[in-house]
Subunit: 364 residues, 3 copies
């Protein structure tokens, strides 16, 4: 990657002051920046670190005196994180999958690979698969028979896409992700102990007779919308009869688990190690922080935001921020957490009160 500072400014929508011809080959933290790095210093607390680096240009906070800092130019942006998205996109060298189909890749009969696509070594593309234009398929990727992938998809090394799965345009799949494993769905000949316990929220699991689990096969697939991103080693199971669905623009982090028949809406964020059990439904623009869990058959409304490790056992209405295990409104959970820390003290207090209350009164 090599750009002039003027080109960078145009790419990220920044106001440029100073020399537009400085060559930029990457971005760096202020103290670590070399002369061809654009230093990122959008907060005055980075001022001192800039002096330790060798950058000639930086993205600075509004009002910064770049000349006094020894720079030859500066960029100013309205929303630094948003500018960073465009800046990093401009400077990203990409995963370097060579153009064309690698001679070791296997493309089975009836599969079609779009113009401009790159397919890496040892990839296996099943019968009848369709892959769109300019797709990039990394090494060791496996795409099952009948799957359909859109334009500009990027599948990193070792991603596994199951039979009949569909991926929209611009979908990105990180290494090792599995889209279209079989659902975890088993049934006993007669009512099982776990069915009884769920009905009663307790009771004695021993009551049921021992039985083996019979598999319910997954005939459905997974349907992934445009602009979805799926994290490393994340797993998405196929539906039993209908498809499991990930809506347009939704992003899944690493090691996320999405069970069979789940339907997730658009523009959601599911952070690292989130688990969504079978047949749950999640609305649009939902944010589940790391290690959240959603029980099976639960509905989470649109615009719900769940804090870290929140466990959602029951439906959550749209537009609510929730936290905790089990999930309650975030403000309420913050109060509960405060109360928990004072709980041993509360026990003492009540013991004291009990002593203090006259016996006669207790017999009222």
């Amino acid at each position: 990657m090599k750009m002039t500072l003027g080109e960078v400014a145009a790419a990220i929508g920044a106001r440029l002051e100073g020399d537009p011809d400085i060559v930029i080959r990457g971005a760096a933290e202020p103290a670590a920046a070399g002369p061809e790095h654009l230093a990122l210093a959008t907060n005055p607390r980075y001022a001192e670190a800039l002096g330790r680096g060798a950058a000639r240009a930086a993205v600075l906070w509004e009002g910064a005196d770049w000349r006094a800092m020894g720079l030859d130019a500066a960029l100013f942006v309205a929303r630094p994180r948003y500018a960073l998205a465009h800046l990093t996109a401009a400077l990203d060298p990409g995963p370097g999958i060579a153009a064309g189909i690698h001679p070791t890749a296997i493309v089975e009969a009836g599969a079609t690979v779009g113009p401009g696509a790159a397919v890496g070594p040892f990839a296996v593309i099943g019968a009848g698969v369709t892959i769109g234009r300019n797709a990039r398929i990394g090494p060791h990727v496996v795409i099952g028979a009948g799957a359909a992938l859109g334009d500009d998809v990027l599948l990193h090394a070792g991603a596994r896409v199951g039979e009949r799965v569909t991926l929209g345009d611009r979908v990105i799949v990180q290494p090792g992700a599995v889209i279209g494993a079989d659902g975890f769905s088993f049934v006993t000949p007669d009512k099982s102990a776990v069915e009884a316990v769920r009905e009663n929220l307790g009771g004695s699991p021993e009551a049921a007779a021992p039985q083996a689990w019979t598999r319910i096969h997954s005939l459905g697939a997974v349907r992934v919308g445009d602009d979805v991103e799926i994290g490393a080693n994340t797993t998405i199971d196929r539906g039993t009869v209908a498809d499991t669905v990930i809506g347009r623009g939704t992003k899944l982090d690493n090691l996320v688990h999405v069970g069979h028949n789940v339907v997730i809406g658009e523009d959601c964020l599911l952070c690292g190690q989130v688990g969504v059990a079978g047949s749950a439904r999640i609305g649009d623009r939902v944010v589940l922080a790391g290690q959240c869990g959603v029980s099976d058959h639960v509905t989470v409304g649109s615009d719900v935001i769940a804090g870290g490790a929140t466990k959602i056992f029951t439906n959550v209405p749209s537009g609510r921020a929730v936290l905790g295990m089990p999930a309650v409104r975030m403000e309420q959970q913050v109060e509960i957490y405060k109360a928990l820390r004072r709980l041993p003290r509360l026990f003492e207090l009540v013991r004291e009160l009990k002593k203090a209350v006259p016996k006669s009164a207790k017999n009222d």
Copy 2:
């Protein structure tokens, strides 16, 4: 897949009313069903949706008037979910691994592959491995030297089976699962801070001198019983000296972690993202819902059922339903959860009471 409705009825043990010769090529939800789909509508609430689909036949609830719904035939079953298991098994086209050993697969010296087995592209089968009859080994599967696999096993793309691991008959391994990674077992030359903290349940970790971790190698393997299923990207570590064991009929969902030396009994269900730490013992017919955790060296009795995200730090006797962090009896935890929501109110109440109790009384 193409069957007549009569054949389907026989396969799933259903009572057939109407035309037995209707051709069935798949199953579908009522509204999405085409004329060669068997619609699944085992509850009266699906009646309306049936009208929107184009199915000629459906699995219906007992007493449903299929003629009035415009169908040409209907199936009736005693336990719909159990019938679904047989129905989906009958209609599942399977993963489509071509018969025989793919020319790109590597089968090392002394390995034997049973009759009827299929081995996919780029699979690597180590020296001395034995694989049973009709086994299906997907693309990119790696099987380490000396491993022994039973009849009818199905290993999906990219499953990794370590050296000397044994898999019983009919074991299914989903993509990316790792069976036989090294155990996570490290030791310091002298007593470590974490050993001290575990003894005291607290204290000052600083007390111990800094020390590096030395690896305890895993000489054992993993022994997986018949009819076990192992989910996508799940990991099972080998034992230190003896084998880690997964009992017959037990099913592990995706992203489950089973530590070294763990022994799991028969017919258990471990749902998505469950973690079982080293040397834990789990009985038969145990159900651990999603994101449960079991501490190392803990014993969980048979027929235990743990609700979502339950963390089991201490032994659980057989036949108990548990919930929460830390795990307590399910009924008790439900009471605790209710109490938690009212906890801030309880603090207020006690404050009021404290004010109300006369000073003199407090000095009693």
Copy 3:
């Protein structure tokens, strides 16, 4: 593996009594040991089991009368677990990756593989990669362009090392681990609902206008120190601008998630399914038990020990043992857990007290 008992004693620093010439080919639990196994019986409770096995030699507890147990020799060690580390290292046959570069492996232009290194089938080594002496690269490993690996590294089957990642000497990577996936970092054009909720710890997420997520690309890499071990299917994301860092001697278990920009110190243990969110900082010698979580941008000091499933939402000072969700001092959490079980009873008690307190008093 074949050693004499005398060689074993020397390797593990044990005191030998009896015949030093017994041939040892492996270790075993006392009851399962054969005549060429060294039985491990460092506690008197194993005495009886020794009688059931066929071992001629055992590692015994201090003071044990090995002759009376029918053994021909015995080893005595000061710290059995530490001795076990050396014993298992001596007896480990290793993963059996054949010496040299397998003919199916792809080594791209400008990559250099050190002397004595072994590269397994279907491995892909990108342009400009450097690999040290005696490295062992398993089957299906992918190493991205420009990565640099030290001496004696061991990468098991299907490990994925991204572009420009660096691994120190003696790093071990278990199967399926992904080092250098893209960070999970997205931004909306204007302030998002989740940003608002984080500022207020609650509020109404609906307030914000719907917006799509724009990706912040990851230009940094991952830098892994000497003697680090990375578990099966664990994922470590690359940094945005600087590198994500795993310090020397730190061990990561299976299915661990390390987000972008995280910096982890030296000699830490992160057990199974731990998640560390983006930009968190973790000191030296930190132990996070299974399923712990650390929020983004949080600092965890050195020598911190967190019990199972602890969720760390805020900074933790050095030298503290913590437990629970949210994390508090371990001793305090133990008290809270006790109090929780008695919480429903506390409610009853307060209700009784309320009744007992005279109305007049309440009006004071």
